[in-house]
Symmetry: C2
């Protein structure tokens, strides 16, 4: 098909929205390592998990074999409210760069949560509702996940308790208000509503909180209140399963126009977007059907893939959650305060970690001023104000396109544009004022995190 015929935006029709999720693990020869019970050091059983997560999600978490999972009709209907997401040909960016490369991006920001997080939020809320639960609890930092979950719960009539890191609650009141508009109960963490919160407040009066503390509170509320379970927006296998809708839609749209990407680029924090975007392409690669260059992009200030260790570690700073085998900087690692660009998690999805470890993908890290330069260029040419997280992928996509300009190669570059930056304007302001700085942790900075890795049989 001639290039002229490819529109700026490819929208699938409603009946082309995938009706099944794709479980990447089914095609992995080496499966991701199981979650471990930190007390016993043994793989977490379904029964142990089901006190925290709802039952269907436990099954999805543990199922390494079923390649396709039916999307329940009610979730399909909800998806129709904000999907299909457009696959955009970045004609204007290509022109501005003067590159022979063809750039495509899958834009997941056309919903109020402003990101792809809604894809898994509705699934997790649905299964909680189906199990007859009253509600769910979660933590949120910047608030994209909390907003998405609030939307999903409002739709299903499910109670939603969000523990929001106190400093974000106070400094980012707007996301908090979106969550409240969706009827969520948003509590600044640490709070006096939980035992762990009270203990932390007694030990550290005046603390402004941390994600690890908010997780601890959310988990406590879930396990101590009948009818509640805890939900998480990234890292877990189940989340990658739900997010596969991103990649499946993308692949369907590309296939319609006989387009094969050479390079696939996604930003990586906990891995929810990257895992979702690459899923069907990685599946082809794992099955030996096709080859793609797949690049994970992370912030230089939180470089779990590029400088972390592949080891069992806690998923939370509070060290109360199960152990996951992943690329990690250590659960005590917290990015420098000057880091504005999201993707702050110390670890990474076990599934993606295994794939990276086995050589199926690359990873690179970028510094935040260059990320915001890319964000600005993108906003000016493509008319979308990107989230800082997404802009990590934009940075590398632009760099790859500029390499094509040098070599004359007409590569096809695909990247994931996870969301919008409407709630990140404090960071944009810093950039606009020339006050943004970069930070790369030294080896010394990373040492403490590695030394604190838990002792697990078979792990150094």
């Amino acid at each position: 098909m001639s290039e002229q015929k490819i529109p700026y935006k490819i929208y699938l029709s409603e009946n082309e929205i995938p009706k099944q999720w794709y479980n990447l693990r089914a095609d992995m020869k080496i499966k991701p390592a199981p979650l471990l019970n930190p007390g016993t050091g043994k793989p977490l059983t379904a029964e142990e998990m089901s006190g925290i997560f709802c039952e269907e999600l436990v099954q999805q978490e543990l199922d390494n074999d079923t390649p396709f999972v039916d999307i329940p009709q009610e979730i399909q209907d909800f998806y129709k409210m904000y999907r299909p997401a457009p696959l955009v040909r970045a004609y204007c960016l290509e022109k501005a760069l003067g590159t022979p490369a063809k750039i495509y991006y899958k834009f997941e920001g056309n919903n109020t949560s402003g990101s792809h997080k809604l894809n898994s939020a509705i699934a997790q809320a649905y299964y909680a509702k189906k199990q007859g639960l009253k509600g769910v609890t979660t933590e949120t930092g910047a608030g994209q996940w909390g907003t998405a979950l609030s939307m999903a719960c409002a739709y299903l009539g499910l109670d939603c308790k969000v523990y929001m890191v106190k400093v974000s609650y106070e400094q980012k009141p707007f996301r908090r208000e979106v969550m409240r508009t969706y009827g969520a109960d948003v509590t600044p963490s640490p709070s006096t509503t939980t035992e762990v919160g009270k203990r932390i407040l007694a030990e550290h009066p005046g603390t402004t909180g941390s994600l690890g503390c908010a997780i601890s509170e959310a988990v406590e509320v879930a396990v101590t209140n009948p009818g509640y379970r805890y939900v998480l927006g990234s890292v877990l296998n189940q989340v990658l399963l739900h997010q596969s809708i991103i990649g499946l839609e993308t692949k369907t749209a590309l296939d319609k126009y006989n387009i094969t990407p050479d390079v696939i680029i996604g930003c990586a924090g906990g891995g929810s977007n990257l895992g979702g975007l690459i899923a069907p392409f990685m599946g082809e690669k794992l099955r030996g059907e096709k080859d793609y260059r797949i690049i994970a992009v992370e912030p230089a200030s939180c470089p779990s893939f590029t400088r972390g260790k592949f080891a069992y570690d806690f998923c939370d700073t509070g060290m109360i959650c199960p152990l996951a085998k992943m690329y990690t900087l250590g659960s005590s690692f917290i990015p420098s305060a000057n880091h504005a660009g999201g993707l702050r998690f110390h670890g990474m999805s076990s599934t993606l970690s295994q794939l990276y470890h086995d050589g199926y993908m690359e990873a690179t890290s970028v510094e935040q001023t260059s990320v915001f330069e890319a964000a600005e260029q993108f906003a000016r040419t493509e008319g979308i104000l990107p989230a800082p997280e997404s802009s990590h992928a934009i940075r590398v996509a632009i760099d790859e396109a500029l390499k094509c300009k040098e070599t004359g190669e007409e590569k096809t570059i695909l990247f994931g544009l996870t969301g919008t930056g409407y709630f990140d304007l404090v960071a944009y302001q810093k950039f606009n004022d020339g006050e943004m700085t970069d930070y790369i942790p030294t080896d010394e900075d990373l040492k403490a995190g590695f030394e604190a890795l838990p002792k697990v049989p078979g792990q150094d």
Copy 2:
């Protein structure tokens, strides 16, 4: 076609995006009254206008006869970046309301300006560029128009000078940062960059500015700097022409499914969205081909249609702009400080004013707490956080749908969802906290504005 087959979102294909704008005035038997020179009291000539507006826009402003105007290819290409806008069947809202009515809305918020304003911003910037100008000047209050213009100018490489009401510049820093990200030069008004700004600052030290003052500064910069012209985001005939793309796309989408709306509802501030949405439908009504019930919705705190006078008045508070014949509360009218919901202009598009005066449309006013109740219900069911402006239309659409529930009528209701509320969360917070109040000006409150209407021959 059976109802089942209508998707949640109707996206036109790229080649179905209209290639011509529709000029509603061509079908009006009684044309809107011309702009008057406030000095002479005589209709403004093209020559007088061309010192302020670029030439092609002057022609569009004055042309009451040409029904269709070709959209230049470069504007068509820009439209492809964020259009077609979806026409959404509000299945979820209908279900929540339990109404037999069928509700559709045209959503114009899927671009960074967050509203329909971009449709005219790109057109005005394009003609300025085509005329070889260096840049454009404008004023902005809340900032939707300023953001849209900044985006358009960034795309075309045109300088963009925005005078932003000082209190908004300081209290709404995020929109300011979006404009700066698009490279616009944003100045808090009043400023020392203009003579009128200096004079106002000397007379009123410490003033936080007003839209009228910002207009005066923007106009001064345009007329005193070679290569600059002034642009405006609403009220003018040219703006309604460009915004007709909203209605044309909507009608094309409805026609594909053989849907005929019974009621068409739009919010009305200066009239840009309403005029654009209703254009082709009103055309059919004017030509006697079809009948539609068309409702303009305005805030009870700024009720120009429902309580204003149909008279010649200044378009600006500073009384330096031309006189327009319109429904007006008087150019000195400023809505109460408690008014949070946008649509603050004291007057209304001359075209829409004439149509309302001649009985082709209805108008109603709504109070802001009920507007935010509708906004919240809409957000929870349709997953879009609506702008307060748009929520005026949502309020009346819901009310009409609830009437259908009582009567059992299966009416088809269409409304314009002009944009998103990401930058209006201070107002949402007020609502969420139960601190939002209503305000309806008394007749006494409106008296001063009416008494200050300018003396124009033939006007009481």
